[in-house]
Amino acid sequence: MKLLEIKNLKKSFGDLNVIKDISLSVDQGEVLSIIGPSGSGKSTLLRCATLLETIDSGELVYVGEHAVKTDENGCAVYAPPQDLKRIQRYFGLVFQNFNLFPHFSVIRNVTDALITVQKKSKEEAYEIGRNFLRKMGLLDKENAYPYQLSGGQQQRVSIARALALNPKVLFFDEPTSALDPELTGEILRVIKDLAAEHMTMVIVTHEMSFARDVSNHVIFMDGGVIVEQGCPDQVINNPQNGRTKAFLSRFEN
């Protein structure tokens, strides 16, 4: 089953065409990695998919429900707010710089949306929250505040926060880029564990060996288009396109 379909997505900032006609789809249980040079539009694509950015034209479909359609003039038409609110629950997003709420303890970071948005009882929310904190190895930190945690721990809290809402698709935008090198491993391990449990994920990353190990499908983007895609072994180990080759050669050593 297709959980996410993006069709002919276009997005520009003023005169700058950042996403030029991108289509992709993500199946249930699939892990898709997006790689590409800086400025190629990876974050913008993710931000369009998570409704943080308004797209110019194209379609965005979650679980068969249209978040965005295109009218006969080629302009994007968003679904009415109440539909978008429902569709919003299909996905979660893990940010590069975590964006935890500094005034909330760890457990409140993870449970507040369950209580405020999903209207769950405090008991139920805390039970869900603690389960995910346990999974992230952070149960002993539930009363800590974000500033008291390492970057890796903060990122694990933000992953728990996203997972607690039970999304069908989880997006990651360079989840390890803000971390010291010795801390990236713990986050990559958490994501690998999620992949082993068949969590559907879309991951923008600069960690090539990680992308190769964790994903079912890899997309190489450059200049706002998909230049090459396929299984990780093919794209990362045997790239066909010159731009892919040039990009990947920078990671070899």
């Binding site: 943080l52 964006n99 500094p102 005034h103 909330f104 949306a113 999903q118 809402l165």
Partner: protein, 216 residues
Amino acid sequence: MSLTGLITELSKGMLTSVEIFTLTLVFSLPLGLFVAFGRMSKNLIIRNIFRIYISIMRGTPLILQLMVVYFGPFYIFKIPLSYAYRFQAVIIGFVLNYAAYFAEIYRGGIESISVGQYEAAKVLGYSKSQTFVRIVFPQVIKRILPSVTNEVITLIKDTSLAFVISVMEMFTMAKAFASAQTSMVPYIVAGIFYYVFNFIVASTMEWFEKKLSYFQ
């Protein structure tokens, strides 16, 4: 007049000063938030109206604003000035003036919150109002507290400006006693009163800041 008599009389004035202080805060803190929203409105006209309002309030002396609020209705509309209106005029003048200062403090605080906080809240499904109330505002309060403390302490001293329309707050009374008795003592006693008032308020604000030090 004996010293105890003087202290008793000045305490009554002090009550009026405390009243001006309290009422000003009660009304200007929420009004300031409203003005801050107006100042940040997407609508160009609304935004400019509030910008001009703030600029006038901050660009002219409070003492002059009090005169305008008090005498304006009489000079412009020939409405006779009642005694009760004196106190009301002081409150209106102070509230309008302090709301402008608080608005700029709120605005600075709100604008200092990173977009990442809004985006995280949006992706988690918070509505705009939930985002403001639960995520943004608590962080704003912590950031603006030192500036608010400054304003609040200035307000204590500013309450003495009410003398300009003869509201019987402490400074007005101290002034009257001093000239009646040709003595410095009323001023010294009033000074001590102000200092103690300030000390209590500053300690309270410090306690608030401590309360909010649990996060960074």
